[in-house]
Symmetry: C2
Subunit: 144 residues, 2 copies
DNA sequence: TTGTAATAGTTGCTTTTGTAACTAACAAGG
DNA sequence: CCTTGTTAGTTACAAAAGCAACTATTACAA
């Protein structure tokens, strides 16, 4: 952060993190927005289901650290567009098990491929060792 | 990003960047929100003015990569609350030169001190070498 | 000139987010 | 059984962000 006196915005970690996060998100966002009209919360729900199989809204929210109202609305839109199905739990009828439909799987397959490519392109700006250490550092910082 | 087959969300750079950025922003956001009732865009305008002196709305927007409507509204709220003043340029009467009032300077001094402390606390989770390389990498990734 | 394009900044309208209150279902002690 | 508390998810309303159209001013070239 420079000297003891002047504050330098260009060195401020939250600022740098935001710039990098925004730049990389915005670019990737075009993909799921253009191809499937999805919002970021929807994309995250889709990816969690594609990755971990059936989950409840609450589980997704906790894991992705997304508020439940965002999840709720994302789930509704995804269900409306037949990307996912909701199945009431018989034992505890408050919870719903979510899973991908066929077209949900197709969208997930397509987007996860794109994500892998995009991640590779981003990582290519760094050495492999840097990329590894960057991920580790980001995980540390995320546990605020 | 692992093998050629499975996609791992926990390794996806945009995801990690977002988690880290959100965690660090939210925490710091409490400060300027609680103390001065500021939004993020307002805080950014304030900081740019505190740091670089008088600037126009457009200059701030370009440098911070924030859309001009956001800046315009942030400037309005800051001016309403007497944190900044607007001075029309005599040569080109489309542009306004913004600068901090006395209380704007006071808020900036207070918040920049807090920012420095917060940044130090964040950086302390890393080694000095790591912190340096992290900043360099984030700058690279921000140039999407 | 004057007509066309460009730039700074603002405003109006729509979409998205955030917050809090709400419904419905379960849990557990008395 | 009741009452109280908790959890899952939804909804209503307010705050904020995004987008496009708009005003005012300057630039510049025919």
């Amino acid at each position: 952060m420079g000297k003891n006196s002047a504050f330098d915005l260009q060195e401020f970690l939250p600022y740098l993190l935001n710039q990098a996060a925004e730049a990389s998100s915005l670019e990737f966002q075009q993909l799921y927005k253009d191809r499937y009209g999805m919002l970021r919360a929807e994309w995250r729900v889709l990816f969690h289901l594609g990755l971990y199989g059936s989950m409840t809204a609450g589980e997704i929210g906790r894991r992705a650290k997304v508020h439940k109202t965002k999840i709720s609305r994302a789930v509704q839109r995804l269900a409306d567009r037949r990307f996912i199905t909701r199945q009431k739990d018989e034992a505890d009828r408050r919870v719903e098990h979510l899973s991908l439909t066929e077209s949900g799987h197709a969208a997930y397959a397509d987007l996860s491929r794109a994500a892998r490519d995009y991640d590779a392109a981003l990582s290519a700006r760094l050495t492999p060792a840097e990329a590894t250490s960057l991920r580790a550092m980001l995980r540390k910082l995320a546990q605020a």
